[in-house]
């Protein structure tokens, strides 16, 4: 299944990319599953996305939870807690 993944701010810098089109296994059905898949790349991916890191996720531009479903064609964004205003 194809999904678009985006990274913002400090996370984008640590990962060295702002986004990518991924073809992931249909076994990945949630935000938590996608995060685990990305962490398995090791290195900066392992540390920057580690459990316990302050991380926010949006699915199709709406704030999401680890249990939020991820479906084909979705846009999933990972980013640090926001600091606007």
């Amino acid at each position: 299944m194809k999904v678009k993944v985006l990274y913002f701010a400090g996370l984008r810098e640590r990962l060295g990319k702002s986004g990518e089109e991924l073809d992931v296994s249909p076994a990945v059905t949630t935000v938590a599953g996608l995060r685990t898949l990305l962490m398995a790349r090791g290195g900066a991916w392992q540390t920057a996305l580690a459990q316990g890191k302050a991380l926010r996720v949006a699915v199709n531009q709406e704030l999401a939870q680890p249990t939020t479903p991820v479906k084909p064609g979705d846009e999933v964004a990972f980013f640090p807690p926001v600091t606007g205003g």
């Binding site: 913002f8 701010a9 400090g10 531009q61 709406e62 964004a77 926001v82 600091t83 606007g84 205003g85």
Partner: protein, 156 residues
């Protein structure tokens, strides 16, 4: 449009005048302007860069404005948020709420800012004499937003 993201500066007076124009029922205008400070966490700040998530930012802010208008009896609400590069004293964000009376206008304006701080996808990076760093989210901002949450039901 109740929400605008832009790189250029804004004129609060002109924005307020435009929002009030043609509505003699308005009796209160509450506004907030967020400004770039010259210091943060004990270090001088010489420059700041603000990035956002185009698309989600507008949606998130529109949702916050819609919720404010639902919760309080107000008339119009406007959010203008700048992105790009800032120097100390530059304006960053403007929130304006109009209504018949001040109480609801004040509350809606504060609510919009508190939710913007914790839910709208903006990130600040500041330059200090020690180098550039991403601004950390503050627990006090989460607590400020928490005040507006409905009390949790204590159903057993």
């Amino acid at each position: 449009m109740p929400v605008r993201i832009q790189t250029q500066d804004f004129d609060a007076g002109a924005e307020i005048a435009a929002l009030r124009r043609g509505n003699p029922k308005i009796g209160a205008v509450a506004s907030f302007i967020g400004v770039c400070r010259d210091a943060n966490d004990g270090d001088a700040v010489t420059k700041m860069t603000l990035e956002h998530y185009p698309g989600m930012t507008e949606k998130a802010l529109e949702k916050i404005v819609a919720e404010a208008k639902q919760r309080w009896n107000v008339m119009e609400a406007l959010v203008v948020h700048r992105v790009g590069e800032f120097k100390p004293s530059d304006q960053i964000v403007l929130v304006v709420v109009t209504g018949a009376h001040r109480g609801e206008a004040f509350a809606a304006c504060e609510f919009i800012m508190d939710y913007l701080k914790t839910r709208a996808p903006f990130w600040k990076k500041e330059e200090t004499p020690q180098g550039a760093r991403w601004v950390e989210a503050r627990a006090s901002d989460d607590e400020a937003a928490q005040r507006w949450e409905p009390p949790k039901s204590s159903a057993a």
